[in-house]
Amino acid sequence: MNQWEVVIGLETHVQLATASKIFSGASTAFGAAPNTQASPVDLALPGVLPVLNKGAVECAIRFGLAVDAQVAGKSVFARKNYFYPDLPKGYQISQFELPVVQGGHVAIAVGQGDKAYEKRVQLTRAHLEEDAGKSLHEDFHGKTGIDLNRAGTPLLEIVTEPDMRSSDEAVAYARALHALVRWIGICDGNMQEGSFRCDANVSVHRPGTPFGTRREIKNLNSFRFLKEAIEYEIRWQIETLEEGGTIQQATVLFDPATGETRSMRTKEDAHDYRYFPDPDLLPLVISPEWIARTKAALPELPEARKQRFIADYGLSAYDATTLTAALETAAYFEAAVAVAGKPGAKPCANWVMVDLAARLNKEGLEITQSPVTAAQLGGLVARITDNTLSNAIAKKVFEALWAGEGSSADEIIEKQGLKQITDTGAIEKLVDEVLAANAANVAEFKAGKEKAFNALVGQVMKAAKGKANPQQVNELLRQKLAG
């Protein structure tokens, strides 16, 4: 396998989070009764004209700025001609020669631990276009049912250079792009509903020779399918070539049930789209002022926020990457730190990534739905860093906050009497009592049995109902036993 190099480029269709369609005033909401969101423009009734949605253009500008691309001052809509029943006009309005976003790049982090590395994936372009309707092939006595609710939904098609060299890099790119489009609020990222779909162009070649012939895997709507489809395709291409065969350029579909890709039966001329500028639409002009306004309104981008988390809060690169995977997580973390204070940043990161994440995952909740607010978690962490709570008791307080037993950690600590005992005198008293009552353990420890020490610690903690500061208990016990 080592003597083959894999080359992958991705085309991603990102459904833009607008209220109305790209060229009509019909709603883009998912799940409506068939054809109740299909206006005369979407149906291509005679005499209708498309009117471009400002919101969709705004999304494209946001994206262009977020990937450091050129936002074109002038771009052109073109007709892509083909016949299919879910495309009533007989052409899709897209962009061809002059796309709205040109160039740009996305930073990706691949692998974990020692094998982790970072890489930049260059973008070729991103262009605005309309989605087609939906064909339903079942249950209509040999006919196909057409629902045009999706027809005209705004899409941004984002095209990379053939920069990726493994399925892991392709998945890392897709994940980074998915996080980014959600972060800048241009896409809901719902892959089940088809808001984010990838096509993968895959080829293999010997290093130092020209790129091989590529095959395009269409419509991958999960990261797992993307990985499986690419890996199957790579194996298939290498086997075919090693057995003396050749690769024909083709469009293939991935079947999740079998884990295989298979060629779509398409006529040779299927790709003769005869693009030409759409005479119904004038060139899209985007002024420098509009770009500047959009730039000013853009949130701090994930990469910048990640670097700030590392610099300001002393987080590791791994923690900072995890916390900036989604805007909501980053915002929650910072809101918690605002209450806990900077010394609480690292514990806040751990609570968000471990305890809170596990609890949310168990209940199937998003971080925005968390019963424990960021301020409450920050308050809890503040009581850990000032030694009011041990970690074990803090977990109890967290559960109590989750269950709504109090409005703040302080209230729960007060109500349930959970304050950690740090008063040396009080702990000393408990230690003396335990030593007096457990002569056998003391003798064992003095005979060299370390286990007996742990038993004594356990006894003290039990007497303190878990509230004694464990470090102080340890120290005092050692002192007394040594004396």
Partner: protein, 99 residues
Amino acid sequence: MSLTLPEVQRIAYLARIEVSEAEAETSRQHLNGIFSLIEAMQAADTQGVEPMAHAQDVGQRLREDRVSHLDPDGVQRARFQAIAPETEAGLYLVPKVIE
């Protein structure tokens, strides 16, 4: 530049227009007539002139992102579908298409 008869027939096929041999020859002559106009225009010096995508040199006017087509009860759908050859459960029915 001029078109051959097979080229005209291919263009007709891609556009799903049925043309007879005689019609294809007539169309070929018409299209070649248009090409000769284009050739005449290409004689003009356009060096340094930015190509236009539209005859009007203005920008596209944009629409605010607002929903203006509302049809929750399918009243308009019923009107649109009155002229469709076949519908069922709100869907337009067409001959089976499977790729």
